[in-house]
Symmetry: C2
Subunit: 342 residues, 2 copies
């Protein structure tokens, strides 16, 4: 039996935390996996040196996850084609705006027998329809793609704090392989079939977190926040069941569902920036400058995309929380409508 | 059509918040309810005066919910029989240890056509079996009893902060009546059939909150806490489905399920005392003295009862979180087992 050769595409904060887990697990399962794991790292200069060279020498990513050591079998590679050559298992963990370009470059080099898993956060929601990144990758590369999502703040995972995660995989065989690649004592994997639900939760939760943050900014207390979280979960479920008939109720009981929603609505940048918005009424782009170094907030963008998608279907009224979040952020609706209109 | 005559049994913090809502709602639905609502108040001296007299003069309960005004149709009555005479709708909202005695006194006076609703927190779990208070009241009084539970911190409800609640009622007709009695703009009622699930959630959530508090005390962060909450929810569901086959998955999506669990695990005395326990390792009864004026903590008691119940059935292993909470609190198990053993 030929062993699986794993490649990781991406090396940010989450990609590095995942690199640590994958590096350890392939050594634990030497019968299944080749020891070497190539990790594609977008090359940049860091403190006067190439980032890939620093990673390979120091066994850590000093820019995105300082202080956390990788096993020596992780090899940072700046060239995408070289990193993914001969890979049979591809882990996608990069910002969603790079997915298309990366797949375009990889598509003539990847084996049709490879399997992939997407750890990419978000969805592409356009008025015409919703695209899951797992499906987008699958289409571009002609291979099966699973999805992983859960209550997984990268820094806590890297410190080996106990948590859970959910893998959605159409193929049971791939699901078992990914289980071996990711599961550890402190990072507990549940494998389910409903990859669509896994990905939807990971994107829509951020809209709910904006609502929870507005409630916090208004000082509404924990009954109200719990109600917003619950109503948000119900709209996530309705969105999935309306536009993707296959989404299962039980998916929302998984780590990718309620657990991630709880984490996102208690800590999390979406909640925090929305709280500041409610308190200061400064525009979101100003707050993004002040609080996120200009990075874009996911939850508000997703709220806008969901609004356009629902408007095209004349269904905004059936998702009052999503719609109210949109109207508060983009149409100057009163903050109080977060409870009045849902 | 004769109108419904409402009586409230109990007048603590939650009973007073509920008195405010019920008082307003019977006036809103004059076609259905008599205006006068009698509220049984356990008579005590407060600042040199009888509590019932103060309530009836000041239109508020100065001891348990100061500053919140009742409508004038709420009448505090110190005699239980007088309070419940001719009542056709009885709202039970008192500490669970008084339920038996109160029912004993009421049973010869209550109309067999009356309907009741239990807002009592907790269950009676003995090695022989689990008793729901709604069923206990139903048996003693020979009437139908529904249940109400949700993410409803009394002070926040009294201040009209938006929240939701769940009513579980076997009878759809009674469910609609209770909807009219409790639903307001700021206190949104969902009526479901699964009264068993509603009551189970209200008791078992406190065990989960003790687990969440231990995690907080250890400084484990939000991934871990979200995992404990999720695993706790799954054990609540398994407990319901194993010992009460009728409990529905969808009940856990209601306010009585995830929303109440979220509130209880973020604020809440069970979480707080458990956090202090993990930090100081002082025995629970000392912490009850120091933090709760000697009142008993619900979550630890319930954990012990659940343990005895499961032990009698040789099923402790199937509920690892409940069992680990028990062993940490009562058997000196290491705090870290809260993640290691679940």
């Amino acid at each position: 039996m030929t062993k699986e050769r794993v490649c990781i595409i991406g090396s940010g904060n989450w990609g590095s935390a995942v690199g640590k887990i994958v590096g350890e697990n392939v050594l634990k399962h030497k019968d299944i996996f080749e020891a070497e794991v190539r990790q594609w790292v977008f090359e940049e200069n860091y403190k006067g040196e190439k980032l890939t060279e620093m990673i390979n020498r120091e066994r850590e990513n000093p820019k995105y996850l300082p202080g956390i050591k990788f096993t020596p079998n992780i090899k940072a590679v700046p060239d995408l084609i070289e990193a993914s050559r001969d890979a049979t298992v591809v882990v996608f963990v990069l910002p969603h705006q790079f997915v298309r370009g990366v797949c375009e470059k990889m598509k003539d080099h990847i084996s049709p027998k490879a399997k992939a898993i997407s750890l990419i956060k978000g969805l592409e929601i356009k008025p015409e329809g919703v695209t899951l990144f797992s499906e987008e990758i699958s289409r571009k590369l002609g291979i099966n793609v699973a999805a992983l999502s859960g209550a997984n703040i990268a820094d806590e995972v890297a410190k080996e704090r106990f948590c859970e995660t959910t893998i959605g995989s159409r193929s049971e065989q791939d699901g078992q392989l990914f289980f071996k690649l990711f599961n550890t004592d402190y990072f507990k994997v549940n494998v389910i079939r409903d990859y669509v639900g896994v990905e939807l939760c990971g994107a829509l939760k951020n809209v709910v977190a904006v609502g929870a943050g507005i409630s916090d900014g208004l000082g509404y207390g924990s009954n109200t926040k719990a109600a917003i979280i619950r109503l948000g979960l119900m709209e996530m479920r309705k969105f999935g069941q309306t536009f993707f008939g296959t989404v299962e109720d039980t998916t929302f009981f998984e780590s990718c569902g309620i657990a991630d929603l709880i984490t996102t609505c208690s800590g999390g940048r979406n909640r925090k920036v929305a709280e500041a918005f409610a308190k200061t009424r400064k525009p979101i782009d100003i707050l993004e400058q002040e609080m996120l170094n200009g990075q874009k907030l996911q939850g508000t963008l997703t709220a806008q995309e969901v609004h356009q998608f629902l408007t095209a279907r004349q269904m905004t009224r059936e998702f009052p929380l999503f719609e109210t979040v949109y109207r508060i952020i983009y149409e100057n609706a009163p903050l109080e409508s977060i409870v009045r209109d849902i």
